[in-house]
Subunit: 240 residues, 2 copies
């Protein structure tokens, strides 16, 4: 498996990004990494770990997309950036995975405009895995879509379920809907409708949950709008 | 100052509620407590702390409002409940404060229908104080209003500011707006409009904040819709 990594995006890039790549290569043997970004900076960070380096290639990119760029504009104009290059390679299947800690907005725009969506996926979502007392849970969406329709909750539930099945080997992932209380009647209109849709779905929907159920490990997939998910995730970062 | 306490509402009531009252009476001298609820149960819990008991009176109530009751209906029908009795006494000024850990919905309905709003308060809000690295911060709203208008964020900011000034002696409380990022352009429509309204207000508005800024102590008042605030609060309970 070939994994593309945007060496230039995120806090303390490229140093921390490349440290992580080397650690990953030393932990598991069944993949190689293609680093995208400024070649001389990348080579400086790679240092002398020759065993790991033998499974790394570098593709130089010259444009840089920052958090200040307007996402869609940046994707259209900065075509020699790590993000656009990465998305293109996923699209033409020369790589299987693209990882970037760069601009969330540009990644959303790039995934839609360049890589394209899988059939059935209406909206891309941010889906971080967070620790719980019984292992881990996925929060989906955690910031990609600040306003969503009731049916999107179902979509997120399906995507999360498939991920937890295939990556964490959980046979029947439990899906919970974030709400202000566990009773069916709780919450605003969109979330009430989402409850109904999820109840009728084939997912293993366990009902409304609250933030503490996430950390207690009552569910494997937490569905919510991206505004709420992002707020929860960042509170966890602050308190965790 | 006379403080009314609903002895019957909340988890492990009346035992835990009354334990808290006795502790408060032993900590500070300048108030008395009127407990509302089932007299024999309350007397059992009060035990033998005669010093504290001398500043306690009991008003017996016979109806009970539970979390399963429909809030507005309960307030109208269960007029001899602790919640309705407490709200009436605040309204006729025979007490200055009413504290209850009972049904949130019934407390909202009771505060609107029985106690009445102060001039200028459009919507009541839940406003818990949470610990931060530099002291504490108020989350407002934390669950009373799941859908709000942009102007409500300003209202919450004003209420929170006045509270932090008078109760915590913070001269110029810093107010932050929860968003998915700190940039002005972030978030959904309501929160973008709220940013504009708060920017033009007389509040000490420090801009958009994220969950971790709350725990870091960057603000004294965190304004948000009740859905987001509730999710954040409950995640804090789970991780904190």
């Amino acid at each position: 498996m070939r994994i593309l990594v945007d060496a230039m995006g995120g806090d303390n890039a490229p140093d921390e990004i490349i440290k992580g790549c080397l650690e990953a290569l030393n932990t598991s043997q069944d993949f190689e990494i293609e680093l995208l970004g400024n070649k001389s900076e990348i080579e400086r960070c790679l240092g002398s770990d020759n065993a790991a380096k033998s499974r790394i290639t570098i593709t130089e990119t010259y444009d840089e997309i920052t958090n200040c760029d307007k996402p869609t504009e940046a994707i259209k104009k900065k075509t020699d950036s790590a993000i656009v290059t990465g998305m293109k390679k996923v699209k033409d299947q020369t790589a299987q995975v693209f990882i970037s800690a760069g601009s969330t907005g540009a990644l959303l725009a790039g995934s839609l405009l360049v890589a394209g969506r899988m059939k059935g996926v209406v909206r891309p979502a941010l889906a971080p895995i967070v620790p719980s007392k019984k292992g881990q849970a996925m929060i989906i969406d955690a910031g990609m879509n600040t306003q969503i329709k009731p049916v999107n909750y179902l979509q997120f539930g399906i995507m999360g379920t498939e991920y937890m099945k295939s990556v964490y080997n959980i046979k029947i992932p439990r899906v919970g809907l974030i709400n202000v209380g566990t009773e069916e009647s709780k919450g605003h209109d969109a979330v009430k409708q989402a409850y109904e849709i999820l109840s009728k779905s084939k997912l293993n929907f366990v009902g409304n949950i609250e933030g503490r159920d996430l950390t207690e490990g009552k569910v494997d997939v937490v569905v919510c709008d991206g505004f709420t998910g992002n707020a929860m995730l960042k509170v966890m970062e602050g308190t965790g």
